[in-house]
């Protein structure tokens, strides 16, 4: 790469003199790009490579090209399909709960009331609890059949306590992850609400809109971008939920709460089957992309519809 080309890349072409003194953008960016390559491309390439290999740590001598063998095992494995289903259930349910609850809370916290600052901090604090700690908190302090607060409350009210993680494992995991992530939705939606100009609300009121119409025609379209960000980021995080499940149900009982990340983990670290878990990882990447694609279409379509009423 010649010096000239480098200079040109950084030049905004506004004036001639800058040609010589333009910042060497490419050279300055090179370390970051290189770092990203090593960080992302290499592991991805390795994963793709292993997905087509027979590679089980327990049978180190049986290395070799497997063709589509790993994928064949994967697609015929009932647990894989179950894990896929659990992943989708988890993502959809958590998205629905966190976004709607976050929106309601954001609308409440957007009003002024006594002690709002304290209440807001408290409402946001679950987000600062580590996932593993969240898991332990729910397992041992909230939902524990003997020591849990919920059980205590139920006993006090005269009900039979429930072993939540044993009898309603998926529900409990969804509850836990939603508890953890609602503050995130709240926080981002609240900043969105606060950036809504007051005069637009006033204008729409003078135009004769009811509270509900005001919400539908002004607030929701205004929040469009922000909702999009929340849904995108949260679905990525929900797709990859692991620590909460690891710390509570370990994917069980049976495979009731085994999602794709947990399935991959089990195959890699219990079956020592690097090949199969790599194939599953590829499937997860594909799933994430499909998900993102439909999500973008769906959200974008809804936004436009909202804009045109």
């Amino acid at each position: 790469m010649s010096n000239d080309a480098v200079a040109n890349a950084g030049d905004t072409a506004s004036h001639q003199g800058a040609k010589r003194h333009g910042p060497p953008v490419k050279r300055l960016m090179a370390p970051a790009v290189l770092f990203l390559m090593v960080w992302m491309i290499v592991p991805l390439a390795m994963t793709v490579y292993y997905a087509f290999e027979n590679y089980n740590l327990m049978m180190p001598t049986m290395r070799g090209f497997a063709g589509l063998g790993n994928f064949e095992i994967l697609l015929t494995d009932g647990t894989f399909w179950a894990a896929l289903g659990h992943t989708l259930t988890l993502v959809m349910a958590c998205l629905a709960i966190t976004v709607s609850l976050g929106l309601v809370l954001a609308l409440l916290f957007n009003k002024t009331f006594l002690g709002r600052g304290v209440a807001r901090t408290l409402a946001i604090s679950p987000f600062f609890v580590m996932p593993v700690v969240t898991g332990l908190l729910f397992k041992n302090m909230l939902l524990h059949p003997v020591y849990g607060i919920v059980s205590w409350a139920m006993r006090t009210l005269g009900f039979e306590p429930i072993d939540w993680f044993a009898h309603y494992p998926m529900f409990s995991v969804i509850l836990m992850i939603s508890w953890e992530w609602t503050p995130f939705a709240l926080l981002i939606l609240l900043t969105g609400l606060q950036s809504l100009p007051e005069d637009q609300i006033e204008a729409v009121r003078l135009d004769g809109a009811s509270r509900l119409q005001e919400f539908r025609h002004i607030v929701i379209p205004h929040l469009g971008q922000v909702l999009y960000v929340v849904v995108m980021l949260e679905s990525i995080f929900f797709l990859t939920s692991f620590a909460e499940i690891y710390a509570t149900t370990s994917g069980g009982p049976g495979t009731a709460t085994t999602n794709l990340p947990y399935y991959i983990y089990q195959n890699a670290f219990f079956q020592y089957d690097i090949g199969l878990s790599s194939a599953a990882a590829i499937a997860a990447v594909i799933l994430a992309n499909i998900f993102a694609f439909f999500l973008i279409r769906f959200v974008a379509g809804n936004l436009n519809a909202g804009g045109q009423r």
């Binding site: 003078l206 135009d207 025609h217 469009g224």
Partner: protein, 376 residues
């Protein structure tokens, strides 16, 4: 179209916190419009103009007094049921809707049939010359175009009352003059009772049928532009209306009830327009407008101001000069071809009939004999 009545209307924002007892933002506001009148509220910023408008609109509750529209007390009526359209300083267009949808929005909420909405939006658009913009989003419009859309959104509704809060202050000077004329034309055509807020007295003078001059939440004077110019109620109104501002000199009225003497300036008051007898021997604020001062060489002139020019502003058609007289800054508007320079010692005189006399203590105008509004 409607008659708007405000009786003893007041607003105190301190209400929410009991111990934070703020002064009233608006106090004892009384005004009854004629049907279809164009009222301008003018005053320095922070004097309570917007607050007054917002109380009429119902965006802010009045803490005292009553507001009636066509006789109906609307104090308890929600903003959306008052049938009032407001044009905001920031335009407040709905950013995600096209110009057409912005204008059609209020009508579609009211479930007006589609063809009628289309008819009304198209009519309004053609009046405002924005037909070609109907498909655009607000962000693709210039400031002037947004302004028109904001007006259009108000007029399609055919409301009882228009409120406009400094609608032109975000436009450049040229466009402002155009839009000024256009709003007046629109008002003539539609005949809707309009409240128009501005802090620009030129805008107020050119647009208002009646002007409400406000200061610190209090009405100073409600009058026609002519009356405000020729018969201001007090020093504030006198100084606020007219550009450049009226000059003031503190002078003492002699025992003869005629001669006014300052440190160096002297005047002869005429009792023809204002009764001055009661103020014999007392201090007065004497006001005279820059455009009524003329150069003189007659040192014996009855009305005489002497001083040394320290600022000259040749504007072509006229030349503005400023001088320091008896501790007051005096501006005179002289003929455009006057040849004066900085440092020149000059003498100025004026017609006694042009003097405005105010009580130096209360700053109120001395009582006027008749409320004449002549066009001089």
């Amino acid at each position: 179209m409607a008659v708007v009545e405000l009786k003893g209307v007041a607003k105190n924002y301190g209400g929410a916190h009991k111990n934070a007892k703020a002064a009233n933002a608006v106090e004892n506001f009384n005004l009854t419009t004629r049907d279809g009148e164009f009222i301008v509220l003018v005053g320095p910023s922070g004097c309570g103009k917007s607050t007054t408008m917002r109380m009429i609109a119902g965006l802010e509750a009045n803490t005292d007094g009553e507001i009636r529209i066509d006789g109906r007390d609307v104090s308890q009526v929600a903003a959306r049921d008052r049938d009032i359209a407001m044009v905001f300083q920031s335009y407040a267009l709905y950013p995600h809707m096209t110009v057409y949808d912005n204008m059609a929005f209020a009508l579609s909420l009211k479930k007006v049939p589609k063809p009628e909405i289309e008819q009304r939006v198209n009519d309004a658009a053609s009046i405002l010359d924005i037909t070609h913009l109907l498909d655009r989003k607000p962000r693709a419009l210039s400031g002037g175009q947004r302004q028109r859309v904001a007006l259009g959104r108000a007029i399609v509704r055919d409301p009882q009352v228009f409120l406009m809060d400094e609608p032109l202050s975000n436009l450049d000077a040229m466009l402002r003059v155009d839009m000024r004329a256009e709003i007046i034309k629109l008002h003539r055509k539609l005949g809707v009772t309009t409240f128009y807020v501005t802090h620009d007295q030129t805008e107020a003078m050119t647009m208002g049928e009646r002007i409400v001059v406000m200061r610190d939440g209090h009405i100073q004077q409600i009058d026609t532009p002519n009356a405000l110019y020729h018969a201001p109620n007090n020093v504030f109104v006198a100084g606020f209306i007219g550009t450049p501002s009226m000059n003031f000199l503190k002078m003492t009225l002699g025992g003869d009830g005629k001669t006014l003497t300052g440190q160096t300036a002297r005047m002869v008051a005429s009792s023809e327009r204002q009764s001055i007898e009661a103020h014999k021997g007392r201090d007065l604020m004497v006001g005279v407008r820059p455009e009524h001062l003329v150069l003189t060489t007659d040192e014996a002139a009855a009305n005489l101001i002497k001083g040394e020019i320290d600022v000259v502003e040749p504007l072509g058609s006229v030349t503005m000069v400023q001088l320091e007289v008896d501790g007051h800054r005096i501006t005179a508007q002289l003929e455009g071809d006057t040849s004066v320079r900085m440092g020149d010692a000059i003498m100025l005189t004026c017609d006694s009939a042009r003097l405005h006399l105010f009580d130096a203590e209360t700053e109120q105008a001395l009582p006027r004999h008749e409320h004449r509004t002549e066009t001089a």
